[in-house]
Amino acid sequence: MISDDWYVIAAILLLALCSVITRSTYMLFGHLMPLPDRVRSALRYAPLAALTAIIVPEILPWHAQHGPMLDLKLVAAVVSIWVYQRTRSALLLIISGMLALWLMRWVVTLFG
């Protein structure tokens, strides 16, 4: 649990500001700033790159002492992506990923 409430409140307020800036600025001042094509294409890649950068450390973590290591979450993520490729369903992706993680942990506790 986090003890530092003000830190969290400040983070929440800043994120709310993010929502307003990204969604409303163009609505308010769009007539003043046409979007160049180069910027437009860069904007297409940045969000996916950021999401990747958030996901990768969660499923492929580096341990403080041991360096990079394998995590069962990586396998679960691969399974969920495979299920999505078959079904095209976001819901099934989430369900299968969770089930795969629980199943593998259970197997590991059986043999460990």
Partner: protein, 288 residues
């Protein structure tokens, strides 16, 4: 004559009387026109009738907007529950989670910020990460702007703030080729979509927050948040430059993990964007 005296004595009633007069007049003229429409040439709509039809049009467009969104709302509610659970499970108190849901109203930015907040990353990095993840809304707003530029700025601010992916996805194909942009129908259609999304999102998020406090941590439901982010990315991975961009960002994010304060995020975004643009140029040249 007595009528006039009353009018003089009570000047403050003028408005009410004038209104009554208009109503009576309309009542009679309507009856008259119905009985002998051929004689009455003035068939312009009456003020209250007109107002009613505008309201009916608005309601109709709003209902259409909400209806067109139904499949999106299903996805949104799953996403809302997952986000609610994830916020509580990753260590936010319930109060903070509720505050975050109500103010931020952006699932991907919320889920992105959770690991950063847990790691105690500096506030500016959380802000920058939130901006980057929300960048897609800049493109949405640029595309939506022509439809809303005739509105007053407070309304545009509100319409922008309440914009969500699903509403945009439903709105654009429907109205891109509309001959006239900024019509009543378009405004209220969009409003119907974003208001129903807002309600569904907030209700399901609160449900998730309530659920999150009952579910034991050992279930690691915070992993559902990571899966939800993957689910969000999957439909967007549509061509080779995007794959190249994601792969580059992933490798950089993996290699830069020992960096303090999760600053590797910035490096990964820069590398990923650059790689995507480079790949776009290379693949286009190759094709021509």
């Amino acid at each position: 004559m007595t009528f006039l005296v009353v009018l003089k004595l009570t000047p403050y009633c003028n408005k009410a009387i004038a209104l009554q007069y208009v109503l009576i007049h309309q009542h009679f003229s309507r009856r008259y026109s119905r009985s002998s429409g051929a004689i009455l040439t003035d068939t312009s709509p009456l003020p209250d009738q007109h107002a009613l039809s505008v309201r009916a049009q608005r309601l109709c467009a709003m209902r259409q907007g909400a209806h067109a969104l139904l499949p999106g709302l299903l996805a949104l509610s799953v996403w809302g529950v997952v986000t609610g659970v994830a916020m509580v499970k990753s260590g936010l108190t319930e109060h903070m989670a509720v505050l975050m849901t109500l103010l931020v109203y952006a699932g991907s930015a919320q889920l992105t910020s959770l690991p950063l907040i847990m790691a105690g990353a500096p506030l500016w990095l959380i802000f920058v990460a939130g901006l980057v993840v929300n960048l897609r809304f800049v493109i949405f707003a640029a595309a939506l702007h022509p439809f809303f530029k005739n509105m007053s700025w407070p309304k545009r601010l509100l319409m922008g703030y309440l914009s969500v992916d699903v509403a945009f996805v439903v709105f654009m194909p429907r109205f891109t080729d509309a001959p006239k942009k900024g019509t009543l129908e378009q405004h209220w259609f969009y409003l119907g979509s974003i208001l129903s999304s807002w309600m569904v999102w907030q209700l399901t998020s609160l449900l998730g927050i309530a659920l999150g406090s009952f579910v034991p941590t050992s279930w690691s439901l915070d992993f559902a948040a990571v899966l939800a982010l993957i689910a969000m990315m999957m439909p967007l991975v549509s061509n080779k430059p995007i794959l190249v961009s994601i792969f580059t960002a992933g490798v950089v994010a993996w290699l830069t993990q020992p960096w303090p304060l999760r600053l590797g995020l910035i490096a990964a975004v820069l590398a990923g964007s650059a790689a995507g643009m480079w790949a776009e140029r290379v693949f286009r040249k190759g094709r021509i």
